[in-house]
């Protein structure tokens, strides 16, 4: 899953460089948004979705666990002394 998320981020970076819409003013998405702007608004939405996948499937849960373990260990030391 980590590889998929990294691939999606790279894909977003590639899709960001939309030279194919460079001169296009039309079509107007929803009747008012030039395609070049709509495309990049879509990139922002997609970045949010990829972020959702990243936190859902690749989140480093050990970061919170490590801190909790550390705190428990500290408390143990204090009690023992």
């Amino acid at each position: 899953m980590r590889i998929l998320v990294i691939s999606l981020i790279l894909l977003l970076a590639i899709l960001h460089q939309d030279w194919w819409w460079w001169e296009a003013k039309e079509p107007l998405v929803f009747g008012f948004m030039p395609i070049g702007l709509a495309w990049h608004a879509g990139i922002s939405l997609a970045a949010g979705l990829v972020g959702l996948m990243a936190v859902r499937f690749c989140w480093p849960d050990h970061l919170d666990d490590e801190v909790v373990e550390e705190a428990v260990a500290e408390t143990g030391k204090e009690e023992a002394s």
Binding site: Q17, W21, G31, F32, M33, L37, I43, S44, H62
Partner: protein, 562 residues
């Protein structure tokens, strides 16, 4: 009216500062890091508010007016992707290290990771310089903005402005209720009191004679605007931010940021709705612009933005990773998983804030005259299509965007001075927590004062230099990334990287002073692309040519997973 609304908003922030101050525990951990107890929503709002300045509202509209819709891809969608990746890869990891080892600032982490006071002493002036520049843009911007949105706040009834009028036009009719203030006699036009620029629209139709138009134009240039002067506006904003940071520390900053972020997002949307409605709806506005052959170039990117510039702009958002004020916000989170919401929602918040402003800037290009000052575009659209109440509310929104970055920067500079310089270098014994808070507050006052005084002096050079502060932070990013993810990285490599950045940054700035059209580019690319690449290369090379860090450090920062 606008000024009254702005004052009401600022009073609300003062109240918030008092309230947060009452909850302040007497510990430096609470003053500088809100006891590391910030939840997911406040973290999102703090981080988003801190990364977005007034540029998100005024700059985005103005830049679109100048360079077309490509501005969104250039600045906003790159930021959406890269900021989110940084929060995921850097933010959560920094938080865990901060919590584990008790770091309060970015520099304390670097000192510990590289075991080098020299590196910190090298980084300190650079980081302070970049933050102060960033801060100054906010302080001066706030002063200018308040001055711009508060005409006729002071009537200046004693002031009389007189301009020559070749002959009294035959068709001229001065309304009866104006006659106390407006006098036309013997080839001159006199007006008492201050004049709002909008009054031009009322004066002009009074006569069709060309000499009248000329006299009115002259009058509008000469008459006092009666606005809150820039130094006073700067002072008001500085004092309000100083007040709530001084009394409430990071807790007040996080609360204020949450409120301010919501305010500027909502106000941006309201401005968009009202103006769009006045233009006959978004579809009608875009259709009109598309049909206008001379003006519709802003609906695409050709001829306005270079393709390599568009690509290499991706290096600029890396600066967020090295913003010391953002680093400090990361440390305030209650737990690492609180970053999840920020990672997901940050690009969406950018979308919500930027798309309406970019559309307004695009439509404005078809409406406002050529040569309009880009920074005045949003204000002019608001003035043209809405009333004073909305202008005041949007003014509050813009100030919210400015202050939500300023407060974190003031607090962060104070933390750097207190924790990394005074506590570390000048104290033989451990400084008590109460003294640290006292020192922190003292530094906040000193920094605010210094920024205010610089802001009063040569302002344009500050704006010219401002662009380079983002480049500088981005150039330092590889050092942070290596510190977090490369076991082999050592202090020699980091120091070499910082020195390289300092040299390249200075060279780049000096080169940019020469003559060039539009944005300063090298081979059509952003200078930051070269700076980040060269800094990284030097850091890696020097690291590989010098001894690796000792095992103790590697074990501390890269513990073996069980």
């Amino acid at each position: 009216m606008s000024f009254t609304i702005i004052l009401c908003y600022l009073s609300l922030l003062l109240f918030l500062g008092v309230f947060a101050g009452r909850l302040l525990k007497k510990s430096s951990g609470d003053f500088f890091l809100a006891s590391r107890g910030i939840g997911p929503f406040m973290l999102l709002m703090s981080v988003f508010g801190t990364t977005m300045t007034a540029f998100a509202l005024i700059g985005s509209t103005g830049k679109t007016f100048e360079f077309g819709i490509g501005v969104y891809g250039l600045m906003a969608s790159w930021s959406g992707i890269i900021h989110a990746a940084i929060f995921f890869l850097i933010g959560a990891k920094v938080w865990a290290l901060g919590k584990k080892h008790g770091y309060v600032t970015q520099l304390s982490y670097f000192r510990d990771r590289y075991q080098s006071d020299g590196l910190v002493l090298l980084l300190f002036p650079l980081v302070v310089c970049f933050v102060v520049l960033y801060l100054l843009i906010g302080v001066i911007g706030a002063g200018r903005f308040i001055e711009g949105v508060t005409p006729e706040t002071f009537s200046e009834s004693t002031a009389v402005t007189t301009v020559p009028l070749a002959a009294v036009p035959a068709d001229l009719k001065i309304p009866a209720d104006w006659q106390k203030r407006v006098t036309v006699k013997n080839g001159e036009l006199s007006v008492s009191g201050s004049l709002h620029p909008k009054r031009k629209g009322l004066f002009m139709p009074l006569s069709k004679a060309p000499e009248w138009k000329k006299a009115v134009n002259e009058l509008m240039k000469k008459a006092p605007r009666g606005a809150v002067p820039k130094p006073a506006g700067m002072a008001i904003v500085c004092l309000v931010v100083l007040f709530y940071v001084f009394f409430g520390g990071m807790r007040a900053t996080a609360w204020a940021n949450t409120m301010q972020t919501l305010v500027f997002m909502v106000m941006g949307l309201i401005a968009f709705y009202v103006i769009t409605d006045a233009l006959g709806g978004p579809v009608e506005a875009s259709k009109k612009l598309l049909a206008n052959e001379g003006k519709n170039s802003v609906m695409a990117r050709e001829g306005l933005i270079g393709k390599w510039q568009f690509l290499t702009y991706c290096f600029i958002p890396l600066s967020v990773g090295m913003f010391p004020h953002l680093f400090q916000h990361w440390l305030t989170a209650r737990k690492a998983s609180n970053f999840k919401l920020t990672v997901v929602a940050h690009p969406i918040c950018i979308l919500i804030t930027w798309v309406p402003c970019v559309l307004l800037g695009m439509w404005a290009f078809g409406i406002l005259p050529d040569g309009t000052n880009p920074n005045a575009v949003l204000g002019m659209m608001v003035a043209r299509y809405s009333g004073e109440v909305l202008a005041g509310l949007i003014g509050a929104g813009v100030l919210a965007a400015i202050m939500s970055s300023m407060d974190s920067q003031f607090l962060c500079l104070s933390s750097l001075f207190t924790n990394d310089i005074v506590s570390h270098h000048f104290s033989q014994k451990e400084i008590s927590d109460e003294k640290k808070i006292l020192l922190g507050r003292g530094f906040v006052v000193a920094i605010v004062l210094v920024c205010y005084l610089i802001g009063l002096s040569n302002t344009q050079s500050v704006f010219d230099l401002g662009v380079w502060c983002f480049t500088g932070f981005a150039g330092l990013f590889p050092i942070l990334f290596a510190a977090l993810y490369w076991k082999r990285s050592n202090k020699q490599g980091a120091i070499a990287g910082v020195l390289t950045l300092a040299v390249l940054e200075t060279t780049g700035y000096l080169l940019s002073l020469g003559e060039h059209e539009g944005e300063f580019l090298i081979l059509g690319m952003m200078p930051v692309a070269f700076i980040v690449t060269i800094t990284t290369a030097v850091m890696v090379l020097v690291t590989l040519l010098t001894p690796p860090p000792n095992d103790e450090i590697v074990e501390k920062f890269f513990p073996a997973k069980n």
